[in-house]
């Protein structure tokens, strides 16, 4: 499949590249002399924080879905909505677009993110060195889209601040908001900890 000369990586040349600014330093240098970022060699040891944040994110995703996100009090009574319940209720009222956004941002994206990060981390070392473009694309999608899950937290913030009409209607945030925000933050950290250079290293030669 390789129809081009093999690429020389910084690691192969006995160097370490700075992932923050791209500058190259001799292997073993601790900090980038230009931007000051920590230099870290390409190593599967960097998968440990990925898994640690991943598990933390998953743990907080459970209460985020079990507890109510919104507590609504209107003339007709009190109501508690979980993430899924809120999306279903919107759909029943005919707001398909908004229901879709909430479903996408709060359920589909977080779950796909957990699966995608786990898949990337597990498949490190099994890729063919020549082509890992699909894995890199997956990583970049995960990295780009992860922060958009925060939408639901901001929806709750705006609703709770705005809808304060005494006995007519008032909305308060539920405990799931905090759990969900933490879950999103932890999965963002998990994705950031993943070193995409591992994707390209190919089958592990020697650590």
């Amino acid at each position: 499949m390789t129809d081009h000369p093999p690429f020389l990586t910084a690691t192969d040349a006995g160097l370490t590249g700075c992932t923050s600014c791209g500058r190259v330093w001799p292997a073993g240098t601790a900090r980038c002399g230009r931007c000051g970022a920590h230099l870290h060699p390409v190593s599967t040891a960097s998968l440990q924080p990925v898994w640690a944040w991943w598990v933390a994110g998953l743990i907080f995703y459970i209460p985020a879905n079990l507890y109510p996100m919104l507590l609504t009090a209107t003339l007709t009574g009190h109501q508690q909505n979980t993430i899924l319940g809120g999306a279903v209720e919107l759909a029943q009222h005919g707001s398909w677009g908004v229901a879709g956004i909430i479903f996408l941002a709060s359920i589909l994206i977080p779950i796909s993110k957990f699966l995608a990060i786990a898949y990337l981390a597990l498949s490190v070392g099994t890729e063919r060195r020549a082509g890992s473009h699909r894995h890199l694309l997956l990583y970049e999608v995960v990295e780009f889209i992860g922060r958009w899950s925060m939408i639901d937290v901001f929806v709750v913030a705006v609703l709770s601040a705005l809808v304060q009409l005494g006995f007519v209607a008032s909305i308060h945030p539920g405990p799931a908001a905090a759990a969900f925000a933490l879950s999103v933050a932890f999965t963002m950290l998990s994705a950031q900890s993943f070193d995409p250079r591992l994707i390209w290293r190919g089958p592990t030669e020697n650590e």
């Binding site: 910084a10 040349a13 791209g22 931007c35 390409v42 939408i151 905090a178 250079r197 994707i199």
Partner: protein, 206 residues
């Protein structure tokens, strides 16, 4: 295999796949991408420093307006209520959700402002052809690393979703802060389009 130190300066390692490239000055319209994974490495825009400074400054002024002017108002059954962006962040301030208020305030106001300030600090002397201020590298790295956590644009979309939810329940009025926030997003996108990381690092590192 070792590389002599004088050639090291001219090398770039792709941050996504570790492939080594030899860097050289590019023309204004040229871009350099990684030969293996296609990640953009260099997008030279040497005269754009002043654009970024100006846009960051604009964004900071808009943010002040967005925080202090009325954001949104609703009315229903003769009752009405107004909310500012600050109050939206403070929505979680009762009880044990309080740390979330701080996190929201950081994500939508404080971190964006800190990033704009860091960019102005880094690029203002460079745009005048002067050497960078002290700790400019730290300031720019700080601005880059905080990028994923500054979520003003996500807040605007969240506001839109919230408004659709409320639309059937009450009448909504938009305050100046709402428009300031929307403009802020456009300015931020423009600013990002004018930025070239590699060019800025080259200018700082000299």
């Amino acid at each position: 295999m070792s590389v002599p130190p004088e050639t090291i300066d001219a090398l770039i390692a792709c941050p996504r796949c570790d492939t080594l490239h030899r860097s050289h000055a590019l023309a204004e319209t040229e871009r350099a991408a990684c030969a293996r994974c296609g990640t953009l490495l260099i997008t030279p825009r040497t005269r754009s420093f002043l654009h970024v400074v100006a846009l960051s400054f604009t964004a900071m002024i808009l943010m002040v307006a967005a925080v202090f002017f009325p954001f949104l108002g609703i009315s229903s059954h003769g009752l009405s209520h107004e909310s500012s962006v600050f109050e939206a962040a403070m929505a979680f301030s009762d009880g044990w959700l309080a740390p979330l208020s701080l996190a929201v305030l950081l994500a939508i106001v404080l971190l964006p402002v800190a990033r704009f300030a860091a960019l102005i600090y880094t690029l203002w002397p460079l745009s005048n052809g002067r050497p960078p201020y002290r700790h400019a590298a730290l300031a720019f790295r700080f601005a880059e690393e905080l990028q994923p956590w500054s979520m003003a644009e996500i807040f605007v979309i969240g506001t839109g979703v919230a408004l659709v939810k409320v639309a059937g329940l009450a009448e909504i009025s938009f305050g100046p802060a709402f428009w300031a926030f929307c403009t802020l997003i456009v300015v931020t996108v423009l600013k990002t389009a004018f930025m070239s990381k590699w060019t800025i690092w080259e200018a700082i590192g000299r």
